[in-house]
Every structure is written in C-alpha cells, then in structure tokens.
C-alpha cells in the first residue's frame, strides 16, 4: 500500500501536460501510468479509512477479545500474587449467566421495539408532509425540527431531566394545576421518557434524510400518479414511500445501532430515578463492570456479546429487506 502512495504525486503532476498533445504513440505507457494513477488515487483515498478502521475499530475490538479470554488470576480467595492466564470462555459464561446482564439486554430490546418503529414512522411522516407542500414555512419547520440534533446528547438529557424532575419541572407543575399527576421517572414511564429524549434529538436528522430521498423521486412518477387519480395521501403512501425504501432501511439500521448503545440518557436520568440502576442497559453494564467492579474480563466479554448482537441484528435487517425487495423486482 505504501508504494502507490509515495508515487502518486509524480505521475499526476508529470503526465497531465503531456497527455493532451500525444495520444496515439505512447498508448501503452499512458494506460499503464493511468492504471498506476488509479491505484495511487485509490490508495490515497482509502488510506484514511483503513487507518481509522484499524485504530478506532479493529485494535479496540482485538483488545476487548483478548481481555475477554485472559485474566490476572490468583488462586483461591484471590489474595495471592497475580498471573495472567488464558481463561477460555469463563468470562462469557459469567456474563451470560448474569441475570443483571440479561435484564439489561431485555431492557434495550424493549427500547428498540418502542423506539425504532416510532422513529422511522414519525420521521417519514414529517418528511412526507414537508414534501407534499402542506406545511407552510417549510424552511423554518425543517430548521426547527433539525435543531435539537445539534444539541449534544448529554445536554439534551440534562434539559429533559429538568423537565422530568418533580419540584423543578414547569411541565409537571402545569399538569399538577390541571390535577394530573404524572411521574416521568417511574417504573413504567422511565423507558418512554428515554424514548422521548432520543426521539427529540434524532427525529429532525432522520427527517432530513427522508426528505432528501424524497427530493430525488422523479417528478413525472408523481405527476403520473396524480393523473391516474391518486390523492395526496395515496401518493405519499403508495408511490413515494416505496421509492425511498433504501433510505428507510438505512435509517432503521442506523437507529438500531444507535439504540443498542443506549447509555447517556439513562446514565443521567439514573441520578434522579431509583428505577434506573447501574446496569440498566448493556452499555451501562459494561461501564459498571469495568469501572466500579474492576472486572475487565467481564466488561470485555459483555462488549463482545453486544458487538455480536449488533452485527447479527444489522445483518438480519439487511437480509430481511433484501428478501423483501427481491420478489418485487422479480415481478417487474
């Protein structure tokens, strides 16, 4: 990979002026040099990706895998000198038999079931609304919806924590005046409260993704549907939506990956709600295992399990959508 990289500047600089006048005679060399140039450009453009992939993904994953299979052990009660030993699947057995880890997986599964459909449907609905031209002041509506995405997650969680805390929250005060008492941080309400924060933060972003996709829908298709007598709702649901299917898959996938890493919101809300424990989500479990329990093997094993779940689910989503689109294409 290094040789094309180092040679890249010279062929580009040297051949370009010579390229135009003489085209027939040194065709062979030009082809070779253009091939080298392609390789060089390819290398130059791909290197940052691979460097990042290796340093921020492969090395950490490798470290986590290593940590999950090795441990500093002392025999018996553990008060002796430590030896680094291969422990096989011990950490994995421990994490998979830990009821608190399994319940954290359950929590995040429930969160995904609530959050992902809600996110995809509402982002798509808003995008379709904007696209159909029903909404006036389109630009400001778009900006208003997108703005929360610019707020860092921790700040968003802080703002909502303020709105959720009894005694501080003007919302709860107002509702209280109308004789409605609601505990946003209660046993059954805390997960919807977290979904609400995530929705508020990311709805605008995903809406923009859908809106951009809708802009690319050929206008003649829409005109045709209008000519055929489809109303605006029908056009939106049966013409536009199938055409932006790839975006829907992408948004669903990104939302899934984001949701599986649930951490910031419950971590912060946990300060105010006893219902959120220190092992509420898998990411919180990992954090707790590493930094309050000093159990790096366990944390690493849990991280690898979470990674495998994420990969498997993402793969599942792509496979499922591929299969779902395949018959449609066959029919055409």
């Amino acid at each position: 990979m290094t040789s094309p990289l180092t040679t890249t500047p010279s062929p580009i600089g040297a051949t370009r002026p010579a390229d135009a006048p003489s085209s027939a005679a040194p065709a062979r060399t030009t082809r070779r040099s253009s091939r080298r140039r392609e390789l060089g450009a390819c290398g130059a453009l791909m290197t940052p990706f691979f460097v990042l992939l290796v340093t921020v993904f492969l090395i950490p994953v490798g470290t986590a895998v290593w940590l999950s299979f090795f441990s500093d052990d002392q025999p018996g009660l553990g008060f002796g000198p430590e030896h680094t030993v291969f422990v096989g699947l011990r950490s994995y057995t421990a994490v998979l038999t830990d009821p608190t880890f399994l319940s954290s997986l359950g929590t995040v599964a429930l969160y995904c079931v609530i959050y992902i459909p809600l996110m995809v449907v509402s982002a798509l609905a808003l995008a379709l609304l904007l696209d159909s031209g029903v909404v006036r002041l389109r630009a400001s509506a778009q900006l208003g919806l997108f703005l929360p995405h610019a707020v860092p997650g921790i700040i968003a969680a802080l703002i909502w924590l303020y709105l959720y805390t009894p005694g501080l929250s003007p919302v709860i005060d107002l509702l209280g005046k109308a004789d409605i008492t609601i505990d946003f941080l209660g046993l059954h309400t805390v997960l919807p409260s977290i979904v609400n924060i995530a929705l508020w933060s990311n709805l605008g972003y995903n809406m923009v993704v859908f809106y951009a996709a809708l802009q690319a829908v050929p206008r003649e298709v829409i005109e045709a549907s209008v000519v055929d007598g489809a109303g605006p709702v029908r056009t939106a649901l049966q013409v536009k939506t199938p055409l932006v299917r790839p975006s829907i898959v992408m948004v669903a996938m990104f939302t899934l990956i984001f949701a599986l890493q649930l951490f910031t919101e419950p971590m912060l809300l946990g300060q105010a709600s006893p219902v959120i424990n220190s092992r509420f989500s898998p990411s919180m479990y990992i954090y707790d295992a590493a930094f309050t329990r000093n159990n790096y093997g366990l944390a690493a094993a849990a991280s690898v399990v979470l990674l495998i779940c994420t990969i498997a689910l993402s793969y599942g989503v792509t496979r499922w959508t591929n299969r779902a689109t395949a018959p449609e294409e066959d029919a055409r």
């Binding site: 009660l77 008060f79 009821p99 608190t100 046993l187 006893p274 707790d288 159990n295």
Partner: protein
C-alpha cells in the same frame, strides 16, 4: 425550610455527579503536585526527608497531615483530598493503581477492602505492622482487615451501629427506648397510631450497608472464606429473618421507605417526621453539623437486640488506611499510618476541623475523643460511653465480599423496586447474590454459593 435547595444547585449537582468520576479518573497522575498542600518545607530536615503521598476523602485529613509534618523531620506527607469513594474516589484509586502511580497511603472503607486487596492495590502489611500497633487496636476491627491471617490495612475508626432517637417526641408519645426488636415494632406501631403522619424510622432504599449491619447483628454470614473458597449466602436464615421483620414493618406502613441520602430523608429528619435514625456512631457528629437547630432533641441508645441475653452488633461505616502496591517507601507509609490511628495528636488534629463523633479503632484514644466532644447538643449525655459498651458487642467473624460496592448496588436496586411495590426485601437480597456470583466467577475466584 432547611434542606430546600435552589433549582440551579440541584441541577449543578446532578450534572456534576457522573462527571466527577470520569474527571477524577483522568487526573490522577499529577494529582499530588496540584494539591499544593505540601506544608512547611521550611525545616532543614525536610530536604533529606522521605516524601510519601496520601489520599483521603475524610474530613480533617489536612489538619492531621499538617500536624504530622510539623512534628516529623524524617518523613513528610503530601496530602491530596479526593472525592468520597462512591463519588469517584475509588475509581480514581483503581485507575491510578492500574497506571502504576497510586499514592503511598490510601483510605479504604471496610466493605471495599477485600476488593482492593484482591486487585492487588492494597499491599499486604502483615510484616510491616508492629505488634505494638496490633495490641493498640480493637480486635474486631483488625479482624475485618485481615484475611487468611494476612493483614491488608489498618483500621482508623470502627463504628458500632446505634440508635439515635428524639427524646422530646419519645416523651410526647410516652415511649420507652426499645431494647429489643419486638419492642421496636411496638414503638413503631404506637408512633403510627398517635403520630399524625410521623413514623418511628425509615427503611433506607439506598441502605445496603444498614441492612448488612442488621443482618450482621442477627448472625448472618454473607461471605465466608472457610476452606480457601468464597462461600456466598446472602439469604441465610438470619438475613431472611431480618428481611421479613422489616418487610412486616413496611407492609403495615409502620416505617417510611425512601433513600436516606437526599432531600426527602433530610426533610423527614429536619421536620421531625422520623423519630429514630439507625446508623453508626459517627452519625452523632454528622447530625450536629447538619442540624444545629435540633440541639437537645436527640440522644443515643444501643441498637435494639434480638436476644438481650446474648447481645450482638454490626458496624455501619468506618475507614481504614492501606499501603498501596506502588509505594516505594512502605515503612515510612506505615509509620505515618500508625501515628494517624494511634497518636492522640492525630485525633485532636482531626477533630479540630469540626465536630466528629468517630469511634477510634484504638480504644486508647477514646478518652481523647470523649474529652474533645461537646456534649451540650446531646443534653450532656456521655455518648462515648454508649459507643464503648456497644463496640464490644460487635460480632466476630463478619467478612465483607470481594465486590461489595456492586453487591450493595444490586441490592439497593431491589430495595428501590420494592418501595415501588415490585418485589420484596428478600427478593432484593437474593438478586444481589445472583448479581454478585458472575462477578466473582469472572474474577477467577474459587466460589461456592448457598441459595435458600
């Protein structure tokens, strides 16, 4: 109204909580130089002196270090105040030890000591400790820092759990100080009947250490190291008895059930909603500092017993000093620790920072603490006499587990759920055991477990 905080301060606290751990974890390496507490380097001996570093979250540590440095030429201590253990202090210590720059002397509470010993942060000091020092310390306290005959830290204070109670309200309702838990239940019923909204006590949903102390008194043995194996049985007979006792009080609405750390509990005590606090001896001084207006309203009595013929007790709180694995001057560190826990000047210096009712692990220092303590808040009661009598009832053989912070957290999650109507106290205790075992197994410790 005391205990009422402004919105801004509450939010600031909320915002700062998760950050303190992370930040302190990052700034461990150059911490000692930042503290700026290296006092009086003026003496000529200071140049040749051995410098050791000391981390603590205990109040008055700076005064103790200053007093030590004033009277010692050969050893000079650089002190750094760190956050309390649960608020990032322990994370800071573990991370520093991982990076190889833990301080020479660290402060570790009893429940967390086994964990730090297993992780190799606290160095074994069996050989460093003089017999003289051993003889000065309360036997039960030293037993808590010794595993397989190897000592890992030196106790500073040992805190028998006592009953702090409102004398005025007891008189008003015609109550006698309960000597047994049955009498305690009777008293709770009387307060519920007459007290218009008052309750005798609060069962702390964040109180795994309190619950452990109740179980300890009742004869439980959550962790046992017989046979070189960690035997775990959190829900043994005595623990089940304690759990069902408190469950009954909760079910009959005889006690409050909420966190003891926080505004709600603070308001309950300040407004006289609860008549009794069950906590360590140290809490007498903490109460004086927190609520000076209630002067004369409180007294200290022994904790109720299950069997007055065979009294028994657990502790609640207390700290120890450990020499860490990274210390390059363990002897100097040990000398400083010995002075801290056994010299009258050390206790006087600690008390000079404000009121404290800590019960020293070295019984020889009790007269110093008693003399320094201002009795007027407790209407002249000699509370140190109560502590002294109670300290001897501390039951032998209790052992804290290797991951006590985590065990407590899972238990408290269960308590919090129980307070919301989901599950019971004993469910929480069982969940704590289930959540602890994978941890111990993943650490490679030899374990057995008894479930019941």
């Amino acid at each position: 109204m005391p205990g009422r905080q402004s919105r801004r301060s509450v939010l600031a606290t909320i915002a700062a909580l998760p950050l303190t751990g992370a930040l302190s974890a990052c700034s461990s390496s150059d911490g000692a130089s930042q503290s700026g507490s290296t006092s009086n380097a003026n003496s000529t001996g200071a140049k040749r002196a051995t410098h050791i570093t000391f981390w603590s979250a205990l109040r008055g540590s700076q005064q103790v270090v200053d007093a030590f440095n004033r009277t010692h030429d050969r050893i000079q201590v650089d002190f750094q105040q760190i956050p309390a253990g649960g608020q990032g202090g322990y994370a800071k210590l573990s991370n520093a030890a991982r990076a190889g720059n833990a301080p020479d002397v660290a402060t570790i509470e009893y429940p967390q000591l086994p964990g730090f010993a297993i992780d190799g942060v606290a160095r074994e000091i069996t050989g460093l400790m003089s017999d003289g020092l051993r003889a000065k310390l309360l036997r039960q306290a030293l037993a808590l820092t010794t595993f397989e005959k190897r000592t890992f830290s030196v106790p500073l204070d040992v805190e028998p759990m006592v009953m702090h109670y409102r004398t005025d309200l007891f008189r008003q309702y015609g109550l006698h100080v309960p000597r047994t838990w049955d009498e305690f239940e009777e008293a709770a019923r009387a307060v519920r009947r007459k007290g218009n909204g008052r309750r005798l006590a609060n069962f702390a949903t964040d109180g795994a250490p309190q619950f452990a102390s109740f179980a300890w008194q009742a004869g439980a043995q959550w962790f046992d190291t017989a046979g070189g194996v960690w035997n775990v049985s959190l829900a043994d007979d005595p623990s089940r008895r304690v759990a069902s006792y408190w469950q009954r009080l909760i079910d009959q609405d005889l006690v409050f059930m909420n966190p003891v750390d926080g505004r709600q509990s603070d308001a309950q005590i300040s407004n006289g909603q609860v008549l009794v606090r069950l906590s360590g001896a140290w809490d007498a001084g903490a109460q004086m500092n927190a609520r000076p207006a209630q002067k004369g309203a409180w007294a200290v009595a022994p904790l109720p017993q299950w069997d007055t013929a065979a009294p028994s007790l657990g502790t609640h709180g207390g700290s120890t000093f450990a020499v860490t694995k990274d210390s390059s001057h363990p002897e100097a560190a040990m000398e400083f620790i010995e002075w801290q826990v056994s010299h009258p000047d050390a206790l006087r210096a600690r008390l000079s920072s404000g009121t404290s009712s800590q019960y020293p692990a070295a019984p020889g220092l009790v007269p110093v603490g008693r003399k320094a303590f201002d009795r007027s808040y407790y209407s002249g009661q000699d509370i140190y006499r109560v502590f002294e009598e109670e300290a001897h009832k501390i039951r032998d053989g209790w052992i804290w587990g290797p991951r006590m912070t985590a065990t407590s957290k899972v238990m408290q999650d269960g308590f919090a759920r129980a307070s919301g109507g989901q599950g019971s106290l004993i469910d929480a205790v069982r969940a704590a055991q289930k959540g602890t075992m994978p941890d111990l197994r993943a650490l490679g410790l030899a374990t057995t477990e008894r479930t019941s």
